[in-house]
C-alpha cells in the first residue's frame, strides 16, 4: 500500500505539469489542444539528447520546455490559418491544428532524438543533482518532496500570471472571446501565448519523466492528452472549482489521485501493464460521464 501511495505521488507530481497544461488549454483557453501527445515527447527527447551530449541537466530541461512552447506556438499559428470565418465556438480548426502539429512532431521528435529511444542510464537527473547539493540520498519520498516544491512553485507562478492584466485577458478569452476582442485584445496573440505556456508545461513533464525513468521514447506521449484530462476531471470532481487558484490546486491533486488509481489498477492480477491505455481510457470515461449519470439519476 505504501508502495502504491509513493508511486502515485511520484508519478502524479511528475505528470502534474501535464495536467496543468491540459487544464490551461481545455479550461482556461477553451481550446482542446491535441498537441500535447507530441510536445510531451519533444520535451523528453530534447532534454535527453542534450543531457547525453553533456549539457547540464537543468539547462537541458529548460530547453525542452522552450521546445514544447514552440510546438504550442505552431499550433496557434495553424489555428489562425484555418479558423478564418468560423465562429469562436467552432472546435474544428482547433482540433485539426493540434492534430497536424502532433503528427508533424512525430517526425521532428525522431529527428531530434536521432532514434526512437534515448537512454539516460548513467546520467544524473535534476533531482540527483539537487540531492547531492544538499547531501540527501534521493529515495522515492525525497523525490516526491522535491517534486512537490517544484510543482508548488509552478502553481504560484501560474496564480500570479492569471491575475495580471494579461492573465485576466487570457481567462476572459476562454470565457467569452467576442467580448474580450471588443475590449481591444488581440485574441490571436493571447491564445498563442496561452498555447505556448501550456505546451511548455507539458514538455516539462516530458523532460522530468525522461530523467526519472532513465530514457526518452518516441512512444511515451501516446495517450498523454487523455491521461492529462483524467487528472483535470478527477481534480475538478473530487476537489471542486471554487476559484481559479483553488482549481489549479484541485487538478494537481487530481493528477496524484489519478496516478494512485492507475497504480492500484495495475496491481490487479488479471490486468497486464499493456492494458494501461485501456485502463486510462476507462478511468477518464467514468470521470467524464459521472456528472451526466448523476444528474440523470437525480432527475429520475
Amino acid at each position: 500500500m505504501e508502495g502504491i501511495l509513493a508511486i502515485g505521488f511520484e508519478q502524479g507530481l511528475l505528470y502534474s505539469f501535464l495536467v496543468l497544461g491540459v487544464f490551461f488549454t481545455f479550461r482556461v483557453l477553451d481550446f482542446p489542444d491535441l498537441t500535447v501527445d507530441g510536445s510531451l515527447v519533444l520535451g523528453a527527447g530534447a532534454t535527453a539528447i542534450l543531457v547525453t551530449n553533456g549539457v547540464s541537466v537543468f539547462l537541458a530541461t529548460g530547453v525542452g520546455v522552450i521546445a514544447g512552447a514552440c510546438a504550442g506556438v505552431v499550433t496557434g499559428l495553424i489555428h489562425i490559418l484555418l479558423k478564418s470565418g468560423s465562429s469562436d465556438t467552432n472546435y474544428g480548426p482547433k482540433l485539426i491544428a493540434g492534430i497536424l502539429t502532433t503528427t508533424a512532431l512525430y517526425s521532428i521528435n525522431l529527428r531530434v532524438m536521432g532514434r526512437s529511444n534515448v537512454p539516460l542510464l548513467h546520467e544524473k537527473s535534476m533531482f540527483d543533482h539537487i540531492g547531492d547539493l544538499i547531501s540527501v540520498n534521493m529515495t522515492r519520498w525525497s523525490l516526491v518532496l522535491g517534486l512537490l516544491v517544484i510543482a508548488l512553485l509552478v502553481k504560484l507562478v501560474l496564480d500570479w500570471f492569471l491575475h495580471t492584466e494579461l492573465g485576466l485577458a487570457m481567462q476572459a478569452l476562454g470565457d467569452n472571446e467576442q467580448m474580450i476582442r471588443s475590449l481591444g485584445v488581440n485574441t490571436n496573440r493571447v491564445r498563442i501565448l496561452g498555447l505556448a505556456i501550456a505546451n511548455g508545461l507539458v514538455a516539462l513533464t516530458g523532460g522530468l519523466v525522461a530523467q526519472q525513468q532513465g530514457y526518452a521514447d518516441i512512444g511515451m506521449g501516446f495517450g498523454a492528452l487523455v491521461a492529462g484530462l483524467g487528472g483535470v476531471i478527477i481534480g475538478e470532481v473530487v476537489f471542486g472549482m471554487r476559484s481559479i487558484r483553488w482549481v489549479l490546486f484541485s487538478v494537481m491533486a487530481g493528477s496524484i489521485v489519478y496516478r494512485i488509481l492507475v497504480a492500484v489498477g495495475l496491481r490487479i492480477d488479471w490486468i497486464r501493464p499493456t492494458d494501461l491505455k485501456l485502463l486510462t481510457a476507462v478511468l477518464v470515461l467514468i470521470a467524464l460521464a459521472t456528472p451526466t449519470i448523476r444528474s440523470r439519476v437525480v432527475r429520475s
Binding site: L168, D175, R181, G184, V185
Partner: protein
C-alpha cells in the same frame, strides 16, 4: 460640434453568401455622416441591415466596398481589436458583453484597459479596485456591495448594466448599441435605457443605437435614421425629429420605401 467621435461611412457594401442562391446584399452602398456628440437611433425592419452596419463599423467583418472613418482615422482595413480602442459596444444578448466565470470587478478591470497594452502588472490593483467600486455604485444596482461575485450569478438586467458600464468606462469615441434592451423584460429594459441616456449625456458620447422599438427611437437621441434594404432611407434630426410621431414615421416609411412594411413586428411595436 466639439469633441470627438465623428463617424463617416461612405458607400458601404456588404454581400453575404456571394455567388450562391442565398446571396444577400446586407449593405447596399450605405452612407452616413455622424457629428461628434450625435446620439443616432436606427430603426428598420428585419433584414434591413441594422446589425450588419454596427458589425461593419466595429470590424467584425470587412466590408466589400466603401470606406469607414472615425474622425480623421480610416477604419476600413483595421482589425476589430484595434478599432475597439475607440469603440465601445453593447450587444443584444446580456451574456455577450461579459465574461461569466470572472468576477464583476475583474470584468470591469478588463474594460478599464480597453485599447491599452496589457502587461504583467497586477490586474486588480488597489487603485483599480477602488475606482471599480465607485463606478459600480453609480449603476444603483447594489453591485458595489459584491464586486467579487462571479458575473454568471447576475440577472440579465444586472449583466447588461455591467456591459454598458464596461463599454463606456474609458469614454470611447463611439458607442454602438445593438438592440441592447430587446432581450430584457419591459421594466428592466426601461431601467437600462434610462441608464444609457444618463451615461451618454454625461459623457457626451457619440452613439449609434439600433432598436426595433419606434417609440424608443423617437424618444431618445437627437437624430433618427431609418434603414431599408441596406441603405439609410430617412434621416431626421433636431426639431424635425422631436415633432415626429409613430404614425408619421410609418407613413414616411411607405413614402420612401414605396412598398408595404416588411415586418409586422415593427408595426406592432
Amino acid at each position: 460640434m466639439t469633441g470627438t467621435g465623428g463617424l463617416r461611412v461612405e458607400g458601404a457594401v456588404k454581400v453575404f453568401f456571394t455567388g450562391t442562391p442565398n446571396e444577400v446584399r446586407a449593405l447596399d452602398g450605405l452612407s452616413l455622416d455622424m457629428r461628434p456628440g450625435d446620439f443616432v437611433t436606427i430603426i428598420g425592419s428585419n433584414g434591413a441591415g441594422k446589425s450588419t452596419l454596427l458589425n461593419a463599423v466595429a470590424g467584425t467583418f470587412p466590408i466589400d466596398h466603401g470606406e469607414i472613418w472615425l474622425d480623421d482615422k480610416e477604419l476600413t482595413q483595421r482589425p476589430e481589436h484595434l478599432r475597439a480602442q475607440s469603440i465601445g459596444r453593447v450587444f443584444q444578448d446580456p451574456r455577450a458583453g461579459t465574461a461569466p466565470s470572472l468576477s464583476i470587478e475583474e470584468n470591469l478591470c478588463l474594460a478599464m484597459l480597453r485599447g491599452k497594452r496589457r502587461g504583467l502588472a497586477r490586474g486588480l490593483s488597489a487603485s483599480r479596485r477602488a475606482s471599480v467600486k465607485g463606478q459600480l455604485s453609480q449603476l444603483g444596482m447594489g453591485l458595489e456591495e459584491r464586486p467579487r461575485s462571479a458575473v454568471a450569478k447576475l440577472s440579465g438586467g444586472q449583466r447588461q448594466a455591467l456591459s454598458l458600464l464596461m463599454a463606456t468606462i474609458t469614454r470611447p469615441q463611439l458607442l454602438l448599441l445593438d438592440e441592447h434592451t430587446a432581450a430584457l423584460d419591459p421594466k428592466v429594459a426601461a431601467t437600462i435605457m434610462d441608464l444609457t441616456t444618463q451615461i451618454v449625456t454625461r459623457e457626451r458620447l457619440t452613439t449609434l443605437m439600433v432598436t426595433h422599438n419606434m417609440e424608443l427611437a423617437l424618444s431618445r437621441g437627437n437624430r433618427l435614421m431609418m434603414m431599408h434594404a441596406g441603405r439609410v432611407i430617412l434621416d431626421v434630426a433636431g426639431a424635425d425629429k422631436s415633432s415626429l410621431t409613430v404614425p408619421e414615421l410609418v407613413r414616411k416609411f411607405h413614402e420612401v420605401a414605396g412598398e408595404t412594411l416588411a415586418s409586422d413586428r415593427m408595426l406592432l411595436e
